[in-house]
Protein backbone atom coordinates (compact mmCIF):
# COMPACT_ATOMS: atom_id res chain seq x y z
CA UNK A 1 0.00 0.00 0.00
CA UNK A 2 1.24 3.48 -0.82
CA UNK A 3 2.67 5.23 2.23
CA UNK A 4 1.45 8.66 1.09
CA UNK A 5 -2.16 8.17 -0.05
CA UNK A 6 -2.79 4.80 1.60
CA UNK A 7 -5.14 3.94 -1.25
CA UNK A 8 -3.27 2.66 -4.27
CA UNK A 9 -0.92 -0.27 -4.52
CA UNK A 10 2.70 0.73 -3.90
CA UNK A 11 4.61 0.05 -7.10
CA UNK A 12 7.52 2.42 -6.60
CA UNK A 13 10.02 1.33 -4.00
CA UNK A 14 12.49 4.02 -3.38
CA UNK A 15 15.48 3.91 -1.11
CA UNK A 16 17.26 7.12 -0.36
CA UNK A 17 20.82 6.83 0.78
CA UNK A 18 22.71 9.85 1.97
CA UNK A 19 26.15 8.72 2.94
CA UNK A 20 25.36 5.65 5.00
CA UNK A 21 21.89 6.47 6.32
CA UNK A 22 19.09 4.78 4.39
CA UNK A 23 15.37 5.44 4.26
CA UNK A 24 12.90 3.42 2.19
CA UNK A 25 9.59 4.62 0.78
CA UNK A 26 6.85 2.52 -0.77
CA UNK A 27 4.65 4.67 -2.99
CA UNK A 28 2.16 4.45 -5.80
CA UNK A 29 3.13 5.82 -9.21
CA UNK A 30 1.06 8.99 -8.70
CA UNK A 31 2.40 9.91 -5.27
CA UNK A 32 5.94 9.14 -6.41
CA UNK A 33 5.53 11.71 -9.15
CA UNK A 34 4.10 14.19 -6.67
CA UNK A 35 7.25 13.80 -4.65
CA UNK A 36 9.20 14.64 -7.77
CA UNK A 37 10.68 11.18 -8.27
CA UNK A 38 11.55 10.50 -11.85
CA UNK A 39 10.08 7.10 -12.61
CA UNK A 40 11.10 7.17 -16.24
CA UNK A 41 14.61 5.92 -16.98
CA UNK A 42 14.89 8.56 -19.68
CA UNK A 43 15.45 11.24 -17.04
CA UNK A 44 18.53 9.52 -15.73
CA UNK A 45 20.12 9.39 -19.17
CA UNK A 46 20.41 13.17 -19.50
CA UNK A 47 23.96 14.29 -20.17
CA UNK A 48 25.91 15.66 -17.28
CA UNK A 49 26.06 19.15 -18.76
CA UNK A 50 22.24 19.36 -18.64
CA UNK A 51 22.38 18.13 -15.11
CA UNK A 52 24.91 20.78 -14.21
CA UNK A 53 23.01 23.62 -15.79
CA UNK A 54 19.79 22.37 -14.18
CA UNK A 55 21.50 22.76 -10.85
CA UNK A 56 22.04 26.42 -11.54
CA UNK A 57 23.75 28.91 -9.31
CA UNK A 58 23.39 27.55 -5.75
CA UNK A 59 26.39 25.31 -6.23
CA UNK A 60 28.77 28.24 -5.87
CA UNK A 61 29.95 28.97 -2.41
CA UNK A 62 31.46 32.16 -1.11
CA UNK A 63 34.92 30.63 -1.36
CA UNK A 64 34.95 30.35 -5.12
CA UNK A 65 33.20 31.86 -8.06
CA UNK A 66 32.80 30.65 -11.60
CA UNK A 67 36.05 32.30 -12.71
CA UNK A 68 38.31 30.85 -10.03
CA UNK A 69 40.94 28.86 -11.90
CA UNK A 70 42.69 25.70 -10.80
CA UNK A 71 46.32 26.70 -10.08
CA UNK A 72 47.63 23.50 -11.73
CA UNK A 73 45.77 23.38 -15.03
CA UNK A 74 43.98 26.72 -15.28
CA UNK A 75 40.55 25.14 -15.63
CA UNK A 76 37.75 27.31 -14.23
CA UNK A 77 34.54 26.08 -12.71
CA UNK A 78 32.70 27.80 -15.54
CA UNK A 79 34.62 25.69 -18.07
CA UNK A 80 33.86 22.58 -16.11
CA UNK A 81 30.17 23.39 -16.11
CA UNK A 82 30.25 23.75 -19.86
CA UNK A 83 32.15 20.56 -20.69
CA UNK A 84 31.32 18.38 -17.69
CA UNK A 85 35.01 17.39 -17.59
CA UNK A 86 37.62 18.52 -15.09
CA UNK A 87 41.07 19.70 -16.15
CA UNK A 88 43.17 17.71 -13.70
CA UNK A 89 43.09 15.83 -10.41
CA UNK A 90 43.88 19.04 -8.53
CA UNK A 91 40.58 20.58 -9.70
CA UNK A 92 38.88 18.36 -7.12
CA UNK A 93 40.85 20.14 -4.39
CA UNK A 94 40.45 23.60 -5.95
CA UNK A 95 36.68 23.25 -6.13
CA UNK A 96 36.44 20.92 -3.18
CA UNK A 97 33.22 22.29 -1.70
CA UNK A 98 31.46 22.46 -5.05
CA UNK A 99 32.63 18.99 -6.02
CA UNK A 100 31.58 17.66 -2.66
CA UNK A 101 28.03 18.95 -3.23
CA UNK A 102 27.99 17.82 -6.85
CA UNK A 103 29.24 14.31 -6.12
CA UNK A 104 26.56 13.95 -3.50
CA UNK A 105 23.93 14.99 -6.03
CA UNK A 106 25.21 12.54 -8.62
CA UNK A 107 25.98 9.54 -6.43
CA UNK A 108 23.93 10.16 -3.28
CA UNK A 109 27.22 10.21 -1.37
CA UNK A 110 30.52 12.01 -1.37
CA UNK A 111 32.49 9.55 0.71
CA UNK A 112 34.49 6.88 -1.06
CA UNK A 113 34.22 3.55 0.73
CA UNK A 114 35.84 1.24 -1.83
CA UNK A 115 39.40 0.18 -2.33
CA UNK A 116 41.86 2.87 -1.29
CA UNK A 117 44.93 3.85 -3.23
CA UNK A 118 47.21 1.85 -0.98
CA UNK A 119 44.97 -1.08 -0.22
CA UNK A 120 46.69 -4.45 -0.40
CA UNK A 121 49.90 -2.83 -1.50
CA UNK A 122 51.90 -3.49 1.59
CA UNK A 123 53.14 -1.04 4.20
CA UNK A 124 51.60 2.39 4.46
CA UNK A 125 52.93 5.26 6.55
CA UNK A 126 51.77 5.63 10.11
CA UNK A 127 49.34 8.52 9.76
CA UNK A 128 47.80 6.87 6.75
CA UNK A 129 47.27 3.61 8.62
CA UNK A 130 45.65 5.58 11.42
CA UNK A 131 43.44 7.36 8.91
CA UNK A 132 42.37 4.09 7.34
CA UNK A 133 41.51 2.68 10.74
CA UNK A 134 39.51 5.77 11.69
CA UNK A 135 37.57 5.66 8.43
CA UNK A 136 36.71 2.04 9.10
CA UNK A 137 35.56 2.95 12.59
CA UNK A 138 33.51 5.80 11.17
CA UNK A 139 31.71 3.46 8.79
CA UNK A 140 30.90 1.10 11.64
CA UNK A 141 29.69 3.95 13.82
CA UNK A 142 27.34 5.11 11.06
CA UNK A 143 26.11 1.56 10.53
CA UNK A 144 25.34 1.26 14.22
CA UNK A 145 23.74 4.72 14.12
CA UNK A 146 26.13 6.04 16.78
CA UNK A 147 26.03 9.54 15.39
CA UNK A 148 27.84 11.32 18.20
CA UNK A 149 30.77 8.92 17.88
CA UNK A 150 30.64 9.36 14.09
CA UNK A 151 30.77 13.15 14.34
CA UNK A 152 33.75 12.94 16.69
CA UNK A 153 35.57 10.60 14.33
CA UNK A 154 34.79 12.77 11.34
CA UNK A 155 36.33 15.81 13.06
CA UNK A 156 39.47 13.85 13.92
CA UNK A 157 39.73 12.56 10.36
CA UNK A 158 39.44 16.09 9.00
CA UNK A 159 42.27 17.29 11.23
CA UNK A 160 44.48 14.38 10.23
CA UNK A 161 43.71 14.87 6.55
CA UNK A 162 44.58 18.56 6.78
CA UNK A 163 47.88 17.70 8.48
CA UNK A 164 48.73 15.23 5.76
CA UNK A 165 47.81 17.70 3.04
CA UNK A 166 49.99 20.34 4.63
CA UNK A 167 52.87 17.86 4.98
CA UNK A 168 52.53 16.89 1.36
CA UNK A 169 52.43 20.52 0.21
CA UNK A 170 55.66 21.16 2.08
CA UNK A 171 57.27 18.04 0.65
CA UNK A 172 56.22 19.09 -2.84
CA UNK A 173 57.50 22.60 -2.36
CA UNK A 174 60.84 21.13 -1.39
CA UNK A 175 60.82 18.91 -4.42
CA UNK A 176 60.62 15.74 -2.37
CA UNK A 177 57.72 13.48 -3.15
Amino acid sequence: MCADCGENKATVHFTQIVNDATETFHLCQECAQKRGLKTSPVGSQAPLSDFLSEMGAPIFTKATNANTACPRCGCTFRQFRKTGRLGCAHCYATFEQEMSALLRKIHGSNEHVGITEDESIGPVDESEAELLEMRRELRHAVEREEYERAAELRDRITVLEDDRRAARAIAEAEGVD
Binding site: P41, H107, S109, H112, E117
Partner: protein
Amino acid sequence: MRLPEDDLLSQVHGGLSWISGEGPHADIILSTRVRLARNLEHYPFRETIAAEQQEQVTSEVLEAYGQAGGSNGSAAPRQVLRLGDLPETDLNVLLERHLVSREMIRFKEASALLVGDGGRVALLINEEDHLRIQVLEAGLQLEEAWERARRTDEDLRRHMRFAYHERFGFLTSCPTNTGTGLRASVLIHLPGLVLTREIHKVLQGLAQIGLTFRGLYGEGSDVVGNYFQISNQTTLGKSEAELVGHLSQITRQVIEYEENARQVLARDALDEIEDKVWRAYGLLRCARSMSTDEMMNLLSAVRLGVSMKLLPDMGVQRLNRLLLWTQIAHLDKRAGRALSKRDREHERSKLIREILDEADNREPKDGR
Protein backbone atom coordinates in the same frame (compact mmCIF):
# COMPACT_ATOMS: atom_id res chain seq x y z
CA MET B 1 39.62 -21.13 -28.49
CA ARG B 2 40.61 -20.16 -31.99
CA LEU B 3 37.82 -19.67 -34.48
CA PRO B 4 38.33 -20.14 -38.22
CA GLU B 5 37.14 -16.68 -39.19
CA ASP B 6 39.45 -15.14 -36.64
CA ASP B 7 42.54 -15.97 -38.67
CA LEU B 8 41.42 -13.20 -40.94
CA LEU B 9 41.40 -10.90 -37.99
CA SER B 10 44.58 -12.03 -36.30
CA GLN B 11 45.92 -8.52 -36.45
CA VAL B 12 43.26 -7.41 -34.04
CA HIS B 13 42.68 -10.58 -32.06
CA GLY B 14 41.70 -10.68 -28.46
CA GLY B 15 38.64 -9.68 -26.56
CA LEU B 16 36.77 -12.67 -27.82
CA SER B 17 36.63 -15.01 -24.88
CA TRP B 18 32.92 -14.21 -24.44
CA ILE B 19 32.13 -15.63 -27.87
CA SER B 20 32.69 -19.15 -26.58
CA GLY B 21 29.33 -18.90 -24.84
CA GLU B 22 30.74 -20.99 -22.03
CA GLY B 23 29.72 -18.82 -19.07
CA PRO B 24 26.70 -19.25 -16.83
CA HIS B 25 23.36 -18.19 -18.39
CA ALA B 26 25.16 -17.63 -21.71
CA ASP B 27 21.96 -18.06 -23.72
CA ILE B 28 20.53 -14.89 -22.12
CA ILE B 29 23.66 -13.03 -20.97
CA LEU B 30 26.10 -12.56 -23.85
CA SER B 31 28.89 -11.04 -21.85
CA THR B 32 29.89 -9.43 -18.58
CA ARG B 33 32.12 -6.39 -18.43
CA VAL B 34 33.84 -4.62 -15.56
CA ARG B 35 35.92 -1.53 -16.05
CA LEU B 36 37.88 0.69 -13.70
CA ALA B 37 38.63 4.31 -14.59
CA ARG B 38 42.04 5.52 -13.43
CA ASN B 39 44.22 8.57 -13.99
CA LEU B 40 47.93 8.89 -13.37
CA GLU B 41 49.00 11.21 -10.61
CA HIS B 42 50.86 14.33 -11.87
CA TYR B 43 49.39 14.35 -15.38
CA PRO B 44 46.51 16.63 -16.32
CA PHE B 45 43.27 15.04 -17.53
CA ARG B 46 42.32 14.80 -21.18
CA GLU B 47 40.82 18.32 -21.26
CA THR B 48 44.18 19.98 -20.65
CA ILE B 49 46.88 17.36 -21.31
CA ALA B 50 49.58 17.93 -23.96
CA ALA B 51 50.33 15.39 -26.70
CA GLU B 52 53.80 14.56 -25.36
CA GLN B 53 52.36 13.98 -21.90
CA GLN B 54 49.91 11.50 -23.42
CA GLU B 55 52.90 9.65 -24.89
CA GLN B 56 54.43 9.53 -21.41
CA VAL B 57 51.17 8.22 -19.98
CA THR B 58 51.19 5.44 -22.57
CA SER B 59 54.76 4.41 -21.83
CA GLU B 60 54.25 4.56 -18.06
CA VAL B 61 51.19 2.31 -18.27
CA LEU B 62 52.85 -0.18 -20.62
CA GLU B 63 55.94 -0.29 -18.46
CA ALA B 64 53.96 -0.78 -15.26
CA TYR B 65 51.92 -3.56 -16.87
CA GLY B 66 55.11 -5.20 -18.09
CA GLN B 67 56.63 -5.07 -14.62
CA ALA B 68 53.42 -6.30 -13.06
CA GLY B 69 53.25 -9.15 -15.57
CA GLY B 70 54.45 -11.80 -13.14
CA SER B 71 51.24 -12.05 -11.22
CA ASN B 72 48.71 -11.51 -13.97
CA GLY B 73 49.57 -14.07 -16.54
CA SER B 74 52.70 -12.82 -18.27
CA ALA B 75 52.78 -16.07 -20.23
CA ALA B 76 49.51 -15.21 -21.93
CA PRO B 77 49.99 -13.41 -25.21
CA ARG B 78 49.53 -9.70 -25.11
CA GLN B 79 49.33 -7.18 -27.81
CA VAL B 80 49.71 -3.43 -27.91
CA LEU B 81 47.91 -1.50 -30.61
CA ARG B 82 48.48 2.18 -31.31
CA LEU B 83 45.13 3.29 -32.63
CA GLY B 84 46.72 5.99 -34.76
CA ASP B 85 48.48 3.27 -36.79
CA LEU B 86 45.35 1.26 -37.55
CA PRO B 87 43.15 1.54 -40.63
CA GLU B 88 39.58 2.62 -40.01
CA THR B 89 38.14 -0.86 -40.56
CA ASP B 90 40.33 -2.31 -37.82
CA LEU B 91 39.30 0.46 -35.45
CA ASN B 92 35.68 -0.37 -36.10
CA VAL B 93 36.34 -4.09 -35.62
CA LEU B 94 37.70 -3.22 -32.17
CA LEU B 95 34.66 -1.05 -31.53
CA GLU B 96 32.32 -3.91 -32.48
CA ARG B 97 34.23 -6.08 -30.02
CA HIS B 98 33.78 -3.47 -27.28
CA LEU B 99 37.57 -3.16 -26.98
CA VAL B 100 37.73 0.53 -27.77
CA SER B 101 35.23 3.34 -27.37
CA ARG B 102 34.08 5.90 -29.93
CA GLU B 103 35.83 8.44 -27.75
CA MET B 104 39.16 6.65 -28.28
CA ILE B 105 38.68 6.55 -32.03
CA ARG B 106 37.90 10.24 -32.07
CA PHE B 107 41.22 10.88 -30.34
CA LYS B 108 43.01 7.94 -31.93
CA GLU B 109 46.38 9.65 -32.40
CA ALA B 110 47.03 9.49 -28.67
CA SER B 111 45.17 6.28 -27.84
CA ALA B 112 46.55 2.81 -27.35
CA LEU B 113 45.06 -0.54 -26.48
CA LEU B 114 46.72 -3.38 -24.67
CA VAL B 115 45.03 -6.78 -24.75
CA GLY B 116 46.35 -9.31 -22.28
CA ASP B 117 45.45 -12.32 -20.17
CA GLY B 118 44.10 -14.34 -23.07
CA GLY B 119 41.99 -11.48 -24.37
CA ARG B 120 40.12 -11.04 -21.11
CA VAL B 121 41.88 -7.92 -19.84
CA ALA B 122 42.17 -4.81 -21.93
CA LEU B 123 43.91 -1.59 -20.97
CA LEU B 124 42.40 1.36 -22.81
CA ILE B 125 44.99 4.12 -22.70
CA ASN B 126 44.26 7.83 -23.11
CA GLU B 127 40.54 7.38 -23.21
CA GLU B 128 38.42 9.98 -21.43
CA ASP B 129 40.59 8.94 -18.49
CA HIS B 130 44.28 8.06 -18.79
CA LEU B 131 43.49 4.43 -18.21
CA ARG B 132 40.49 2.18 -18.29
CA ILE B 133 41.07 -1.37 -17.08
CA GLN B 134 38.46 -3.51 -18.76
CA VAL B 135 37.62 -7.17 -18.24
CA LEU B 136 35.24 -9.07 -20.52
CA GLU B 137 33.88 -12.51 -19.62
CA ALA B 138 31.40 -14.89 -21.23
CA GLY B 139 27.92 -15.17 -19.73
CA LEU B 140 27.14 -13.89 -16.25
CA GLN B 141 30.44 -13.72 -14.36
CA LEU B 142 30.39 -10.41 -12.54
CA GLU B 143 32.32 -11.49 -9.46
CA GLU B 144 34.98 -13.20 -11.58
CA ALA B 145 35.34 -10.16 -13.86
CA TRP B 146 35.64 -7.86 -10.86
CA GLU B 147 38.27 -10.08 -9.27
CA ARG B 148 40.34 -10.00 -12.46
CA ALA B 149 40.01 -6.22 -12.74
CA ARG B 150 40.90 -5.80 -9.07
CA ARG B 151 44.05 -7.86 -9.46
CA THR B 152 45.14 -5.95 -12.55
CA ASP B 153 44.54 -2.63 -10.77
CA GLU B 154 46.45 -3.79 -7.71
CA ASP B 155 49.39 -5.02 -9.81
CA LEU B 156 49.56 -1.70 -11.63
CA ARG B 157 49.41 0.26 -8.37
CA ARG B 158 52.59 -1.47 -7.22
CA HIS B 159 54.40 0.38 -9.99
CA MET B 160 52.51 3.62 -10.43
CA ARG B 161 50.38 6.08 -8.50
CA PHE B 162 46.87 6.98 -9.53
CA ALA B 163 45.12 10.30 -8.85
CA TYR B 164 43.34 9.84 -5.55
CA HIS B 165 41.54 12.02 -3.03
CA GLU B 166 41.28 11.10 0.64
CA ARG B 167 37.52 11.55 0.68
CA PHE B 168 36.39 11.24 -2.94
CA GLY B 169 38.49 8.19 -3.87
CA PHE B 170 39.91 7.67 -7.36
CA LEU B 171 39.61 10.86 -9.39
CA THR B 172 38.27 10.88 -12.91
CA SER B 173 37.84 13.37 -15.70
CA CYS B 174 34.06 13.22 -15.35
CA PRO B 175 32.62 13.26 -11.81
CA THR B 176 30.10 10.56 -12.72
CA ASN B 177 32.98 8.03 -12.48
CA THR B 178 34.67 9.35 -9.33
CA GLY B 179 35.22 7.13 -6.31
CA THR B 180 35.56 3.50 -7.30
CA GLY B 181 35.76 4.33 -11.02
CA LEU B 182 33.88 1.09 -11.45
CA ARG B 183 31.33 0.42 -14.12
CA ALA B 184 30.05 -3.14 -14.23
CA SER B 185 27.67 -4.21 -16.96
CA VAL B 186 25.97 -7.20 -18.47
CA LEU B 187 24.86 -7.52 -22.07
CA ILE B 188 21.49 -9.21 -21.80
CA HIS B 189 19.01 -10.52 -24.39
CA LEU B 190 15.39 -9.90 -23.36
CA PRO B 191 13.04 -10.83 -26.22
CA GLY B 192 10.51 -12.45 -23.87
CA LEU B 193 10.02 -9.25 -21.88
CA VAL B 194 9.79 -7.20 -25.08
CA LEU B 195 7.19 -9.53 -26.64
CA THR B 196 5.08 -9.61 -23.48
CA ARG B 197 5.42 -5.81 -23.18
CA GLU B 198 6.80 -6.09 -19.67
CA ILE B 199 10.14 -4.55 -20.60
CA HIS B 200 9.28 -0.95 -19.71
CA LYS B 201 8.30 -1.91 -16.19
CA VAL B 202 11.61 -3.71 -15.78
CA LEU B 203 13.65 -0.85 -17.20
CA GLN B 204 11.82 1.68 -15.04
CA GLY B 205 12.50 -0.50 -12.04
CA LEU B 206 16.21 -0.53 -12.86
CA ALA B 207 16.35 3.25 -12.91
CA GLN B 208 14.85 3.39 -9.44
CA ILE B 209 17.48 1.16 -7.89
CA GLY B 210 20.58 2.91 -9.17
CA LEU B 211 21.03 0.93 -12.37
CA THR B 212 20.88 2.17 -15.92
CA PHE B 213 20.45 0.59 -19.34
CA ARG B 214 21.70 1.29 -22.84
CA GLY B 215 21.74 -0.36 -26.25
CA LEU B 216 24.29 -2.85 -27.56
CA TYR B 217 26.90 -0.28 -28.48
CA GLY B 218 26.96 1.92 -25.43
CA GLU B 219 25.90 5.41 -24.59
CA GLY B 220 23.35 6.86 -26.97
CA SER B 221 23.12 3.69 -29.06
CA ASP B 222 19.72 2.28 -30.02
CA VAL B 223 18.30 -0.87 -28.60
CA VAL B 224 18.47 -3.30 -31.51
CA GLY B 225 17.69 -7.00 -31.48
CA ASN B 226 16.41 -6.85 -27.89
CA TYR B 227 19.95 -6.57 -26.48
CA PHE B 228 20.33 -4.35 -23.44
CA GLN B 229 23.37 -3.32 -21.45
CA ILE B 230 22.56 -2.99 -17.77
CA SER B 231 25.09 -1.26 -15.53
CA ASN B 232 25.52 0.58 -12.25
CA GLN B 233 24.71 4.27 -12.40
CA THR B 234 26.73 5.52 -9.44
CA THR B 235 30.35 4.85 -8.54
CA LEU B 236 30.79 6.58 -5.17
CA GLY B 237 29.62 5.73 -1.66
CA LYS B 238 29.44 1.98 -2.14
CA SER B 239 32.32 -0.45 -2.26
CA GLU B 240 33.20 -2.20 -5.50
CA ALA B 241 31.99 -5.51 -4.07
CA GLU B 242 28.64 -3.95 -3.15
CA LEU B 243 28.18 -2.40 -6.60
CA VAL B 244 29.06 -5.66 -8.34
CA GLY B 245 26.98 -7.74 -5.92
CA HIS B 246 23.95 -5.51 -6.40
CA LEU B 247 24.14 -5.71 -10.19
CA SER B 248 24.65 -9.46 -9.98
CA GLN B 249 21.62 -9.91 -7.76
CA ILE B 250 19.38 -7.72 -9.93
CA THR B 251 20.61 -9.38 -13.13
CA ARG B 252 19.60 -12.76 -11.74
CA GLN B 253 16.18 -11.30 -11.03
CA VAL B 254 15.87 -9.94 -14.56
CA ILE B 255 16.86 -13.37 -15.94
CA GLU B 256 14.06 -14.85 -13.85
CA TYR B 257 11.56 -12.30 -15.24
CA GLU B 258 12.74 -13.10 -18.74
CA GLU B 259 12.34 -16.83 -18.13
CA ASN B 260 8.86 -16.27 -16.73
CA ALA B 261 7.94 -14.19 -19.78
CA ARG B 262 9.13 -17.03 -22.02
CA GLN B 263 6.99 -19.49 -20.07
CA VAL B 264 3.98 -17.22 -20.55
CA LEU B 265 4.70 -17.09 -24.29
CA ALA B 266 5.03 -20.88 -24.46
CA ARG B 267 1.75 -21.29 -22.60
CA ASP B 268 -0.41 -18.62 -24.24
CA ALA B 269 1.07 -18.09 -27.69
CA LEU B 270 3.07 -21.16 -28.58
CA ASP B 271 1.83 -21.34 -32.19
CA GLU B 272 2.66 -17.71 -32.85
CA ILE B 273 6.10 -17.95 -31.27
CA GLU B 274 6.92 -21.16 -33.09
CA ASP B 275 5.92 -19.56 -36.36
CA LYS B 276 7.93 -16.42 -35.59
CA VAL B 277 11.18 -18.22 -34.76
CA TRP B 278 10.95 -20.68 -37.67
CA ARG B 279 10.22 -17.82 -40.09
CA ALA B 280 13.27 -15.97 -38.77
CA TYR B 281 15.36 -19.12 -39.14
CA GLY B 282 14.02 -19.64 -42.67
CA LEU B 283 14.92 -16.11 -43.73
CA LEU B 284 18.43 -16.35 -42.30
CA ARG B 285 18.86 -19.73 -44.04
CA CYS B 286 17.67 -18.63 -47.44
CA ALA B 287 17.96 -14.88 -47.93
CA ARG B 288 20.49 -13.60 -50.46
CA SER B 289 20.81 -10.12 -48.97
CA MET B 290 20.50 -8.97 -45.38
CA SER B 291 20.72 -5.55 -43.69
CA THR B 292 22.25 -5.19 -40.20
CA ASP B 293 18.93 -4.33 -38.58
CA GLU B 294 17.08 -7.20 -40.23
CA MET B 295 19.83 -9.62 -39.23
CA MET B 296 19.82 -8.38 -35.62
CA ASN B 297 16.06 -8.82 -35.31
CA LEU B 298 15.96 -12.24 -36.97
CA LEU B 299 18.91 -13.44 -34.95
CA SER B 300 17.15 -12.33 -31.77
CA ALA B 301 14.17 -14.51 -32.70
CA VAL B 302 16.43 -17.46 -33.53
CA ARG B 303 18.32 -17.06 -30.25
CA LEU B 304 14.97 -17.11 -28.46
CA GLY B 305 13.86 -20.17 -30.45
CA VAL B 306 17.02 -22.10 -29.63
CA SER B 307 16.82 -21.16 -25.97
CA MET B 308 13.13 -22.24 -25.83
CA LYS B 309 14.08 -25.49 -27.62
CA LEU B 310 11.75 -24.70 -30.51
CA LEU B 311 14.66 -24.67 -32.98
CA PRO B 312 17.51 -27.16 -33.34
CA ASP B 313 20.30 -26.52 -30.82
CA MET B 314 23.12 -24.92 -32.76
CA GLY B 315 25.13 -23.92 -29.69
CA VAL B 316 25.47 -20.50 -28.08
CA GLN B 317 28.90 -20.06 -29.61
CA ARG B 318 27.42 -20.13 -33.13
CA LEU B 319 24.75 -17.64 -32.17
CA ASN B 320 27.43 -15.33 -30.80
CA ARG B 321 29.54 -15.69 -33.93
CA LEU B 322 26.52 -14.96 -36.10
CA LEU B 323 26.00 -11.78 -34.14
CA LEU B 324 29.57 -10.48 -34.19
CA TRP B 325 31.00 -11.73 -37.49
CA THR B 326 28.15 -10.16 -39.44
CA GLN B 327 28.67 -6.65 -38.08
CA ILE B 328 29.72 -4.06 -40.66
CA ALA B 329 33.43 -3.73 -39.89
CA HIS B 330 33.86 -7.48 -39.39
CA LEU B 331 32.44 -8.12 -42.87
CA ASP B 332 34.66 -5.42 -44.39
CA LYS B 333 37.70 -6.85 -42.61
CA ARG B 334 36.87 -10.33 -43.86
CA ALA B 335 36.50 -9.07 -47.42
CA GLY B 336 39.71 -7.07 -47.16
CA ARG B 337 38.09 -3.86 -48.36
CA ALA B 338 35.33 -1.41 -47.50
CA LEU B 339 32.28 -3.04 -49.09
CA SER B 340 29.44 -1.15 -50.70
CA LYS B 341 26.17 -1.47 -48.81
CA ARG B 342 24.80 -3.75 -51.50
CA ASP B 343 27.86 -6.04 -51.51
CA ARG B 344 27.98 -6.12 -47.76
CA GLU B 345 24.35 -7.20 -47.46
CA HIS B 346 25.09 -9.95 -49.94
CA GLU B 347 28.23 -11.06 -48.07
CA ARG B 348 26.37 -10.98 -44.78
CA SER B 349 23.66 -13.35 -45.99
CA LYS B 350 26.33 -15.67 -47.42
CA LEU B 351 28.28 -15.84 -44.17
CA ILE B 352 25.10 -16.46 -42.17
CA ARG B 353 24.24 -19.39 -44.47
CA GLU B 354 27.75 -20.79 -44.10
CA ILE B 355 27.62 -20.73 -40.31
CA LEU B 356 24.14 -22.27 -40.29
CA ASP B 357 25.21 -24.98 -42.78
CA GLU B 358 28.14 -25.78 -40.56
CA ALA B 359 25.68 -26.18 -37.65
CA ASP B 360 23.72 -28.73 -39.71
CA ASN B 361 26.76 -30.69 -40.87
CA ARG B 362 28.72 -30.62 -37.67
CA GLU B 363 30.47 -33.74 -36.55
CA PRO B 364 29.03 -35.41 -33.47
CA LYS B 365 32.45 -34.90 -31.82
CA ASP B 366 31.90 -31.15 -31.86
CA GLY B 367 29.61 -31.62 -28.89
CA ARG B 368 27.44 -28.63 -29.74
